[in-house]
């Protein structure tokens, strides 16, 4: 009999981390305020109490230090799972991630590995001040030696965090912070999840393909539902993995629909949408009825929160892009 629990994404990540720690005593969590406080989003709530201060480490306030010491722990055989408090605070650690985490195995001629996970709450829509709402995924996806994934729902969050911890390679694990506590889902704790680095059709359709990940999946789904009234039958794909990309389901879908729209909160310029558009046009050129269109943020820094709603991609913009694709 399978065990089924209904949880928010925050609880699902907590349960996933707990399961990963139960499974492997080398898994250690590191980050600012992740101990007694349980992290500012409570993702590690109760874990220090149950696993002790050696395995759930409240680090000094220094992100480069968190990543740098995680590298050392990984070299010693541990599996660090580090929490960066907010997306905009990852940059002090960026050097360690790009120059060390990403290149260690390569530098060692394949002898050493770097099995660590960097959890980053990302995206906006929570009314926060500067540096708390950013979408830095492309900067990591652009870095050879890093794998990048993003969860979009509690069920995936529960499975993907465990798969990321089990991965022998470094994984940047992006969590859509505005969905942490928003909706619950039923999770079968004993189900076999799809592979970590796989994309998935979350809504089949025929009119056009909408590609999304993380927080934009719910936007895409909202658009698909709203589009039904107008006779649109959108296929929505949750990419889940941003590097490597899993293009199989994407190509298959676009060959069927002939149209693709990419949605992300990150800036359009050199965002994931650019890579997806290039790959789709390379592989599906003769199936395309219109160019791949992108719905993303304007190329300005994240705005003050009072106007963030007009900056974040919404379902109207997705439907507008679909209309433009259809009118091509």
């Amino acid at each position: 009999m399978s065990r089924t629990v209904t949880m928010t994404m925050a609880k699902a990540l907590n349960a996933g981390l707990r399961a990963a720690m139960d499974r492997d005593s080398k898994v250690v969590l590191m980050g600012e305020d992740i101990g007694k406080l349980g992290g500012v989003f409570r993702i590690t709530d109760g874990l220090q109490k149950d696993f002790g201060e050696d395995r759930v480490i409240d680090t000094p306030l220094a992100e480069a230090g968190i990543l740098g010491t995680a590298v050392g722990l990984a070299l010693r055989g541990y599996r660090p799972v580090v929490e960066i408090q907010f997306d905009g605070f990852v940059y002090p650690a960026y050097d360690q991630i790009v120059s060390q985490v990403a290149k260690y195995r390569y530098r060692s001629g394949g002898r050493l590995s770097m099995p660590l996970v960097v959890r980053i709450p990302f995206g906006g829509g929570i009314g926060a001040v500067e540096h708390h709402s950013e979408s830095p995924e492309a900067q990591f996806a652009h870095t050879p030696g890093l794998k990048v994934v993003a969860c979009s729902n509690p069920r995936d969050a529960y499975a993907m965090i465990q798969q990321a911890v089990a991965s022998p390679d470094p994984v940047i694990f992006l969590e859509p912070k505005r969905l942490y506590h928003s909706t619950k889902a039923e999770i079968d704790l004993d189900a076999t999840p799809p592979p970590l680095f796989s994309s998935r059709v979350v809504r089949p359709g025929s009119t056009a393909t909408v590609l999304a990940y993380g927080p934009s999946v719910s936007v895409a789904m909202g658009a698909a539902e709203a589009g039904v009234e107008d006779g649109l039958d959108l296929e929505v794909i949750d990419l889940r993995t941003l590097s490597p990309l899993d293009m199989g389901p994407v190509h298959e879908s676009v060959r069927k629909t002939g149209r693709a729209v990419v949605v992300h909160e990150a800036h359009r310029n050199l965002g994931l949408g650019a890579e997806l558009a290039a790959r789709i046009s390379e592989e599906c050129f003769y199936s395309l009825e219109a160019p791949v269109l992108r719905v993303g943020a304007y190329d300005i820094p994240y705005p003050p929160s009072r106007v963030e709603e007009s900056y974040l991609p919404d379902l109207d913009q997705v439907l507008d892009a679909v209309d433009r694709s259809l009118a091509w």
Binding site: K36, L37, G127, V129, P304, R306
Partner: protein
């Protein structure tokens, strides 16, 4: 927690409001000056409590309270000369007050209307910096500029300038802060590193950041460090005055550790009951930065009771004004954001601005 009678702690006014002597530091102002500092403390606290209340009512997105740190900020802020320059964190509301920044400008930022609208060069008070510790390097670089401008060690009144970097105990772990110490030391920059050790970096006590008292770190970098009772406005003023003078005369950087306490939450989204005991908070209430000044002023009959009433009335009016101002704040026109990215606008962003304008107009059309 440090021993309250720690001999390394510079104190000139006890929590009971008694003046005490210190061999190296003296507060030079008279009782009128102390009454003025008291007014600053009360008004600063009022700005803070008003902002916290406004956040609770949904008028601000978030607020970072300075409750408990008023003396550290007012004491240092009032030691500044007009030509000195401040690089704050996001909690320096009391320093902002001393620099003449309209408090509504701070509240606008925390409402989410903008990210800082005061003119830093009008007030010699930089923009709030949220990424922890980054501003300490900016302050050091600014001080290197002051050196190059020949505004150090001339002895001309009003010319020699110092730069103050504010930061907290948590920030002392950051690479940026340690790099700032290195740069300031080797360049002998006219910068004062003013660390408000409020004992907590969100949920982490200072013991997660350091094994030695923070002021002692300075010695390793090659400049003096001092620990001052951060809840004693007179001692903070005296210690800061001395450090600023050192910087201005060309004797280089120094570190001040203002030993204080964050009485409230890290921000309004934080819940400190999860990680600290109320008896610690209670014990710090006995060292309140305002009470001791009030006790002193009463003890020496420096002011009459009307003075206290007037200050309270002024605080009340300030609170009312802030409430009205916040409620009247309009959201910004997002179109303007596109023009504040670069000095020389790019065709791409200009095109996105036009795209945004067209899109917004089409939405209004639909709404109509």
């Amino acid at each position: 927690m440090a021993d309250p009678v720690d001999p390394s702690l510079v104190q000139l006014l006890t929590p009971e409001g008694e003046r005490v002597e210190h061999p190296d530091y003296h507060f030079d102002g008279d009782d009128d000056v102390i009454a003025g500092l008291y007014r600053d403390l009360v008004l600063t606290r009022r700005i803070d409590t008003e902002a916290t209340a406004l956040q609770r009512h949904g008028e601000l997105g978030i607020w970072a309270s300075l409750l408990g740190q008023e003396a550290a900020q007012v004491g240092s802020g009032r030691a500044l000369a007009p030509q000195d320059y401040v690089f704050p964190t996001y909690r320096e509301h009391g320093v902002a007050w001393c620099r003449g920044v309209d408090p509504i400008a701070l509240l606008r930022l925390f409402r989410g209307t903008d990210q800082g609208t005061w003119d830093p060069d009008e007030h010699n008070f930089g923009l709030y910096t949220i990424v922890i510790g980054a501003q300490t390097l900016h302050a050091t670089g600014y001080a290197m500029g002051v050196q190059r401008d020949g505004a150090v060690g001339t002895g001309e009144p009003g010319r020699d300038a110092a730069v103050v970097a504010y930061f907290g105990d948590g920030a002392t772990s950051q690479g940026d802060v340690n790099e700032a110490f290195v740069y300031a030391a080797v360049t002998n920059a006219p910068v004062v590193f003013f660390c408000q050790n409020n004992q907590w970096a969100i949920s982490e006590p200072t013991t997660r950041q350091t094994r030695v008292p923070l002021y002692q770190r300075a010695a390793g970098f090659g400049f003096p460090g001092v620990r001052v009772d951060g809840n004693d406005v007179l001692a903070v003023h005296a210690v800061t005055t001395e450090a600023l003078q050192r910087a201005r005369e060309g004797s280089g950087p120094s570190l001040i550790e203002a030993f204080t306490y964050r009485m409230g939450a890290h921000t309004t989204t934080d819940d400190p009951t999860r990680y600290r005991h109320s008896d610690e908070v209670e014990s710090w209430k006995l060292r309140d930065p305002l009470e001791r000044v009030r006790a002193y002023l009463r003890r020496v009959n420096a002011v009459d009771e009307q003075f206290f009433t007037d200050v309270e009335d002024e605080a009340e009016r300030l609170g009312e004004t802030l409430r009205e101002q916040v409620r009247a704040l309009a959201d910004p026109d997002p179109t303007t954001l596109f023009d504040q990215v670069f000095v020389e606008q790019t065709p791409e962003i200009a095109a996105e601005r036009d795209e945004f304008r067209t899109w917004s107009a089409s939405l209004e059309e639909v709404a109509r």
